[in-house]
């Protein structure tokens, strides 16, 4: 998912859940900041490096892929972007422990960990709510990929086609992948950028949905492909439908966090809250565009009647850097950092307690 959903759509969901305009902005900023809080950024603001919620391309280029290096990558990506669905999943056939460990890190919605994630944010500052909403939303967009480098899990092949609504069914169009970061995805001709094929199991190119390009990040797209782990069974991914579920599940989760609902349960979506705007939201989700910030922003402003400030990464840097050591904890970023460390620790601990060593042990 991109800024359009993590910032603007999260703002809309928070507002629909009952938060005020200012609170919704804080939640949205925190949700989007998860995609920017790298070690490089933390070093710049003199924050603790263990709070990193993402890695920059340059950091990944230099990342080690030995056991310790892989654990570091897995901690960040599994915790914040590819939350595992089922840490005790079984594979039909007999397989090695290493394979099973990687298989169990496959991301998906409505797992036990997403419930733990939302529950952990209960009675916590808004920054923790934002982090939880980022993680929850990504379980929908990034499902079927794992937050650890793995060829045998995350690879895709030439069986990859885009589906276009056509009458009662869908028309298929083969997707062509290139590896040109400088060229934007060509939506008209279904030419998308993905990461290079690397036969090395632990190559960084095999992290997450790199081999499927940005397709999981676009709300409008429907596609069919063969996941490397799927025993030759095709998966049809319907992003408009999944993104709608993500949106309505975020509203449900935030209503729980506000205390309006007694418990957060799996497979619960607040479809009532979006009822009056269903057509409008579907229209935004289905529009073929690289980024939908403008549409979501207009919708957010229509909902709250307030101006939704654009996301500015450095909005709270000065407050954090100019605060004394004892006051830092209570700054906006101080709370975000605390929330990120707590969430990461919970996920690593759960993965470790399931007998999976790929993320190491929580400190």
């Amino acid at each position: 998912m991109q800024e359009d959903f993590h910032y603007y759509a999260t703002y809309c969901a928070a507002f629909l859940a009952g938060y005020s305009h200012a609170e919704s902005l804080d939640i949205a900023y925190s949700a989007q900041f998860v995609d920017h809080c790298s070690r490089t950024l933390l070093a710049k603001i003199k924050g603790p490096s263990e709070a990193a919620t993402t890695q920059l391309q340059l950091e990944l280029m230099e990342a080690r892929t030995d056991r310790v290096g892989l654990q570091d990558i897995t901690r960040i990506w599994s915790s914040f972007h590819f939350l595992p669905k089922d840490l005790h999943a079984e594979k039909g056939k007999r397989c090695s422990k290493l394979y099973l460990s990687k298989y169990r890190l496959i991301c998906g919605p409505n797992g036990d960990l997403v419930v733990r994630t939302v529950e952990l944010a209960k009675d916590k500052p808004l920054q923790s709510v934002g982090i939880a909403m980022h993680v929850l939303a990504d379980t929908w967009a990034h499902m079927n990929f794992a937050g650890t480098p793995s060829l045998v899990i995350n690879n895709t092949n030439y069986v990859f086609s885009e589906l276009f609504p056509d009458g009662n069914g869908y028309r298929e169009k083969q997707i062509n992948f290139v590896h040109k970061a400088s060229t934007p995805d060509d939506l008209e001709n279904s030419i998308y950028t993905n990461s290079l094929y690397q036969s090395s199991e632990n190559s960084i190119m095999n992290l997450g949905h790199g081999r499927a390009g940005h397709l999981p990040d676009y709300s409008f797209v429907r596609y069919k492909y063969l996941p490397a782990w799927g025993e030759y069974e095709e998966i049809v991914k319907d992003n408009p439908s999944d993104y709608m579920k993500a949106f309505t599940q975020m509203i449900f989760a935030m209503k729980y966090l506000r205390g309006d609902i007694p418990a957060f349960e799996k497979n619960m979506y607040d479809t009532e809250a979006v009822g009056p705007w269903l057509g409008r939201i579907n229209e935004i989700l289905e529009r073929r565009q690289l980024i939908a910030c403008e549409d979501w922003k207009a919708f957010g402003e229509e909902l709250s009647g307030q101006t939704v400030e654009d996301y500015a990464i450095d909005r709270y840097f000065e407050e954090y850097t100019t605060s004394s050591a004892e006051d830092k904890e209570e700054t906006f970023l101080g709370r975000f950092i605390r929330g990120a460390i707590t969430h990461k620790g919970m996920v690593i601990d759960e993965i470790y307690r399931s007998g999976n060593k790929l993320a190491g042990k929580a400190k």
Partner: protein, 178 residues
Amino acid sequence: MNIFQRIKKILLALMMILAALIFLVSPADAALLTIIVILALGLAAKGIKDIIFYFRMARHMVGGKLILFQGVLVLDFALLTLSFYNIPKIFMLLYLAGVHAFSGVVEILRAMEARRTVDGPWKLKFAHGVVNIALAAVCMIFISNISIAVLIYSAGLVYSAGVMIFDSFRRTSFVLIE
């Protein structure tokens, strides 16, 4: 490429330069045999690694059998290379020149693919492939004069090593989807 991959590439290039120097300084049969053995061991290690990876991980993966086939093929090449231990020097050199030419063809194919689908330079890769094939061809033309053929083959090794070292210091194009 991370720092370890760069160091690995430089070390491989240095080994290639060392092999070329051995050929030039002491073009005895023993030197050629040593290279044959090293090549065979390298191929065998790669083949066995692929086969183990298949049984441990890739057998559950869509298209994973390709890794098994690749492993078996490379291991087969390793055994073939080792079987050249007892043949006359001229055939050993022919085989090595053939391997050099094959790597040139692979390099050209990769360059063509890079031109089509990848950002960044492809011309160096293409030129590397062409020069490799040309050197192998010249080596085969002069195969009757072993000392000249060895000289040409050594020049090819040094050239390839130079390109590898240059490549390892270059900023690499990196497409990663977050």
